[in-house]
Subunit: 284 residues, 4 copies
């Protein structure tokens, strides 16, 4: 049967893939949640009709959202994940025996529930004893935290819908406050290629630069996201992802990874000239 899912990357470009089965469809108070089984990418989680996670390439995203910070500061012990309901970010974090506490704040319990059913690959470690799940608004959650985390990962959707507040100055300020002295913030930071995504990235990066002394952007190849050229932000109170990078210490964790490695750590921060210039110029 010719059943195809289509995501509009822009008004004029769209990506489609063939669906085996529409597994799940539910409207939560926050968003539309769907799971589809596909021929090319395995099971796929969609929020409000946009691809969030696919079985085929989630390893890229989850490698890059966790290991870059961990290799910059291998002493991270307390981690806060905001969003990330599929569990992939937590799964990667639990691989570090040195991490003592992982708080995950996901506004939409339905995403977690459904991911446990349809994406056991990503959600498998949500029951690790170091993990505490909070089903509440991440924005509120960080408001009264002070010096509680060594790493905050904002594993959010796009800055439209429930993810919107996670791209605000106020939220970033509260994250700053919630972080310890060597604290690092890693945030899902859109893409430099299509105009709308680039604007969102520039806005978020501009706001972070007003708050954190160190703000960098790093890239990776994410084939199922628009343009395949995706970015995370790295903001820190004191650690620089390249100058303070500790490849030898990270290697001692002896983790087998499919995308991340210590060369790609450095390569990811080597941005194309047009992206560097765009960030320097900021949003007009």
């Amino acid at each position: 049967m010719e059943l195809w899912f289509t995501e509009e990357h822009t008004d004029y470009a769209k990506f489609s893939f063939k669906v085996k089965k529409h597994l799940y469809s539910e409207k939560s108070p926050f968003q539309q949640v769907d799971f589809i089984d596909t021929y090319e990418f395995g099971k796929v989680l969609l929020l409000d009709g946009l691809v969030m996670v696919t079985e085929k390439d989630e390893f890229i995203y989850h490698d890059m959202i966790t290991h870059v910070a961990m290799a910059t500061n291998p002493e991270i012990k307390r981690v806060l994940v905001i969003g990330g309901g599929d569990g992939g970010t937590v799964r990667e974090l639990t691989r570090y025996n040195t991490i003592e506490k992982i708080d995950m704040v996901e506004i939409d319990e339905l995403v977690v529930k459904a991911s446990r059913e349809f994406l056991p690959l990503t959600s498998s470690k949500l029951d690790d004893e170091r993990v505490t799940l909070y089903f509440e608004d991440g924005i509120k959650f960080v408001e009264d935290k002070e010096n509680e985390y060594d790493l905050i990962i904002v594993d959010s959707t796009d800055p439209i819908g429930p993810g919107e507040g996670l791209f605000t100055t106020e939220f970033y300020k509260n994250c700053y406050k919630a972080l310890s002295d060597k604290g690092i913030l890693v945030n899902q930071n859109e893409s430099p290629y299509y105009e709308r995504d680039a604007k969102a990235m520039l806005r978020a990066t501009g706001k972070l630069k007003k708050i954190f002394p160190i703000v960098e952007v790093y890239q990776f190849h994410m084939p199922t996201y628009p343009s395949g050229h995706w970015l995370f932000g790295f903001a820190s109170k004191s650690l620089h992802p390249i100058k303070d990078f500790k490849p030898e210490e990270w290697k001692k964790f002896n983790l087998k990874t499919k995308y991340y490695n210590t060369e790609i750590h450095v390569g990811a921060f080597a941005l194309p000239t047009y992206v560097k210039e765009m960030i320097e110029a900021g949003v007009k």
Copy 2:
């Protein structure tokens, strides 16, 4: 009007973009040649229905196919381009005043003719006095060449149709022979992500490794190619793209580039673990 071009990246994944106008459609003795004008990517050259060049992101491809070799050996004087009928590779090469001779061998004169009309942006330097155009088979062309070039760029289509012979051991051997002692071969080398593309890359890389002492693969973000994760091969008789990299010398050329820079030169060779492992394992 809803007129959309679709490229099937695999049997189960396709990329579509909206067409303003179908500008040109002609069948040459070698392939179907089309130009379309699009809303998102400007003018696009299609060969046998596949995206070759778009106005929006050709700069990425052409930066990466030329500057990496030039920054490894800034003394390159004689260059052979095989394929590359749109002219973008030649355009980048002509920016180096130190290059004395550029031979471009394109089997399909129609591609050059039509690109001159519809893609002046890429084809603008084909009349540079150092450039000689040969409309003949690149495979034959290199057969009797010996020690004639410092750099050969294989700017080919996929290994199906007219591009097929440019992925053979015999051709690579003749390239080796045609190169000088410090000679470099750069070849369009598909993608690691989708299965068919990955196999083509592994086959080409395996063949090159039997001929050249130094063979590496480097990557870049090419949003209009399947998966957006694209590769070039770098093979050389004696120069290593990282160990022999001469960033300071390259900077003296004082070229303004939109994608390439000396950090990305290094970053491009930092491959994801799964790609490195795939190349080490070779084709089964």
Copy 3:
């Protein structure tokens, strides 16, 4: 979410509609069975990926497959339905109190089971006491029947897959034998518009003409079938659908119908000239 079902009407024309939810997907020993919920057409039954029944326009198909024969011979008492697993044809037949017996022979029990769940609108009368369901091969079923039915309705899929045998001369001969003197055969007879459908129609019609003295074709507007121009065959031992048409007697049944009426009965046999000529010429 942009989830679209597509049916290829020909290699070069396709019809797509937006899917709310993929309700059901199962492979029976005979075919792939799917139900989808759609925005425009309500629930839709697909067999091997082709639209069979939609909530929005099934009334057209089921009106035309039953009432034309019933208004030609209002004394029909014994009916055999071959195929028709969704139950819509039986539903219309049960509205005639004068019909005493309805045998329905559907090769694929799964279609009936799933239709009971997802298409209660069509399957509602399958439990009428006059109805006997046989889950077996209709071709075999009629082999040993003689003078048992006043009406046989071949409510089949296209002549590819499980429906193929229902378009053969042997099957039509057995139907002839199974029918009473005034017996009528009504068969799903494809479309005159697209080449492949027209050929199937011409082949079936040609075969019927060699067996039955009276063979006509009638048309109706079926928007969700390829071209919207669909045909049924009417073959009979002695009754002509126009000459023996009994509008006044049919009106006495006092049935409320949404598509069929006594004017459309006549109009349906008024074929376009190109269709008449095509049938006269037969298959080349």
Copy 4:
């Protein structure tokens, strides 16, 4: 090359066909005019992105828009065509030697010019000496006409854009005035199937009923229009399309037609019950 044209029949249903070549694209003061060459339907005229005429099935439309009126009143001598820039309606009219005068009023000269180039099949008779072309607004054109035409054919686009005024009460009143005693108005009257089209049809029919004593609607199978179930309106001062139908006289014209014939003339007025009820109920 996979180049596909798509027409959205509704927000949730779309029809696509494969394009060989985009032949022509021009914006007139009134609308966007495109010609495409397609694999399934030959050359196609698009206005504002909607299918108007295809080489494959234009014969259906043009047969039905002319011959029904001509067979009701074979004495028609003076005809006004409003719209119909492709020339197909005029072509059919010129086949009647008894017609003395054909005025065609097309607001958009570009449509005629381009149709002459790309659709010689339909535009071939625009130079017949009985034909006078007026490139002006049909609404204005009829304002001051009195008793000048025996037949007015409104061969318009949908009631959106330049066609809008051709669906107004005032326009219909002026047509009434412009017609002779036995005058007939035939108008493009949308479709009963999809909601938006049905509403447009009901509005137009309701307006005509307030002006003309005889108003009927007739149908035909038009595969490239939404749902394939299309309608024309027939309004007249005194002639009824069935009661006054003169099949024998029409046959004397000895015209070979591919769709229309004297049985289909009658059959076309046999509407499905749901359409009859819809028209009786009118627009809410």
